[in-house]
């Protein structure tokens, strides 16, 4: 009994020390749910765009998400966080979307296409009529690189998009674009973040195929 108690204490000591001291545990924040975004950045006008998600572990899974944080005036950084299973699963379809926005002290948590924080804000851009006669959002010259960081590609939001986005925001619902251009299944997102949609990451390999490939490679 004494030895068993000692062994349990040793296991607890190891877990505690590993958690406190291990370099792999340092520097990665934990994001329980969307409420935790506010703690990750205290900057005004910040937007968190989910650009990658990854699961590690055999029996006990650890979930990671990678965000592109755009704050203030074109201050861009990539941030990796550990997250809960529930939050990671809930956002599996939201790659490329902005999951959190803060502007003028107001915080929004519903998933919206990236850049929704800036659309309609005349400090960042203006509406311009396109060839079809529709009003299209254009960024000012000083923010000309924002569409690249946001992963828009050739996509330019119009007034319809803006109105729908506002409606969804007020209702607290997610929005994936008029033709579902954004999100994990969206064309624009797939073109903007090819790293996530790489073929070898997407394909689900069967055990039999894996075994045959292994035998071919090693024997």
């Amino acid at each position: 009994m004494y030895k068993f108690f000692l062994y349990c204490m040793l296991v607890i000591l190891y877990l505690g020390l590993a958690k406190t001291l291990s370099p792999s545990e340092l520097g990665v924040h934990y994001l329980q749910n969307e409420k935790g975004f506010a703690k990750l950045s205290d900057k005004e006008n910040s937007s968190f765009i989910l650009i990658d998600t990854h699961v590690t572990g055999f029996l006990i899974k650890t979930y990671y998400q990678k965000y592109r944080v755009i704050s203030d005036y074109e201050n861009i950084e990539d941030l990796i966080v550990r997250t809960s299973k529930e939050f990671a699963r809930r956002n599996m379809e939201n790659i490329g979307l902005s999951l959190f926005r803060r502007a003028d002290g107001r915080e929004e948590f519903n998933p919206l296409p990236p850049g929704s924080l800036y659309i309609g804000d005349l400090e960042y851009g203006y509406w311009k009529k396109n060839r079809d006669g529709k009003m299209e959002w254009r960024f000012n010259k000083s923010f000309k690189n924002l569409p690249n960081y946001l992963g828009w590609g050739e996509f330019r939001p119009d007034e319809e998009f803006y109105k729908e986005m506002k409606l969804r925001t007020n209702a607290g619902q997610p929005y994936y674009g008029p033709n579902n251009e954004f999100g994990t299944k969206g064309k624009v997102t797939r073109a903007a973040f090819p790293h996530f949609f790489r073929e070898d990451r997407m394909k689900k390999v069967e055990l039999k195929t894996l075994l045959i490939e292994y035998l071919k490679e090693n024997f």
Binding site: L6, Y7, L10, P23
Partner: protein, 298 residues
């Protein structure tokens, strides 16, 4: 031809220099064991006291192991290299002897060298001392390689290694069924084999914990500590597992018979082998599993 001959000459000179340093060790041995002065400084008679011979030459084996980790870089000039070799050799031997003295003081706190080796010619004591000498030399060699010619790092790691070894030798009483003090008094060889397996296993585990890449001394020390604790968690699993796989019959149920059979050499060999194989498997579990990182994906 001249160059080849020159290199051969350097090797011969270095061999002579190492012999000179080992000769000097004879006097250093007397500092730690003053009672053995007459035997060590005159001609040794192995037949007279085999225990003393084993005890003395275990140190020589240890020093040889340590010398094997020092490199002589001739490109920076022969005399400078020789000076470096001599300095590091002297520092290493001094630290090695101090660590041996400390560890033996911990393990043999109930026994006296003069009584056990010179008077009682206790082979069990000498053999365990031999195990200490070899294992600590091996560990010191690992620490020296990790120190990479920095005396400060060597001192830090040496102290650290000493603490871990000091704690690990106390671990023996927890995992062995043999009574150390009683069997030592009885000069029982079962204890020799069991302890030899234990010390060799502990040496392998600790050396594997120290043997890892390091860029930052703080992170390195933390990693070594974590690996050591992890080894302490894994090792009992293997020991229990091996005992279950190869159960042994000890005695016929009577307490006296069980005790007698445990004192047989066979039981000592059994325990020693369990310790060594458990330790080797522990090093595999602790060091050979690559979990990868999240970075290839992100």
């Amino acid at each position: 031809m001249a160059e080849i001959f020159d290199r051969l000459l350097i090797r011969i000179l270095l061999a002579g220099f190492v012999c000179l340093m080992i000769y000097l060790y004879r006097y250093a041995h007397v500092i730690f064991y003053p009672s053995v002065k007459r035997q060590v400084l005159k001609k040794i008679n192995p037949a007279e006291n085999p225990a003393d011979t084993l005890h003395l030459f275990s140190r020589v084996v240890g020093i040889s192991i340590i010398f094997s980790s020092i490199t002589l870089n001739e490109t920076s000039g022969f005399f400078l290299s020789l000076f470096h070799f001599a300095t590091w050799g002297a520092v290493a031997i001094a630290l090695y002897l101090i660590s041996l003295y400390i560890i033996e003081s911990v393990v043999f706190y109930n026994f006296d060298y003069t009584d056990e080796i010179l008077k009682r010619k206790n082979m069990c004591y000498a053999f365990i001392s031999f195990c200490h000498a070899v294992v600590i030399a091996y560990l010191f060699k690992t620490v020296m390689v990790e120190a990479e010619n920095s005396i400060v790092i060597l001192l830090v790691l040496w102290l650290y290694m000493l603490v871990i070894v000091g704690i690990s030798v106390k671990y023996y009483t927890l995992i062995s069924r043999l009574s150390f003090n009683r069997l030592m008094i009885q000069k029982n060889l079962s204890l020799c084999f069991s302890y030899a397996g234990f010390s060799l296993g502990a040496g392998l585990v600790i050396a594997s914990c120290f043997d890892q890449e390091h860029y930052d001394i703080t992170v390195y020390v933390i990693q070594v500590l974590l690996k050591t604790i992890l080894s302490l968690i894994i090792f009992p699993l293997f020991k229990k597992g091996l005992v279950r796989i190869f159960p042994v019959k000890v005695g016929d149920g009577h307490e006296n018979n069980i005790d007698t059979e445990r004192q047989s050499i066979g039981y000592g060999i059994y325990e020693g082998c369990l310790f060594v194989s458990g330790a080797i498997l522990t090093t595999m579990i602790v060091n050979r599993i690559q979990f990868g990182t999240i970075y290839p994906f992100f």
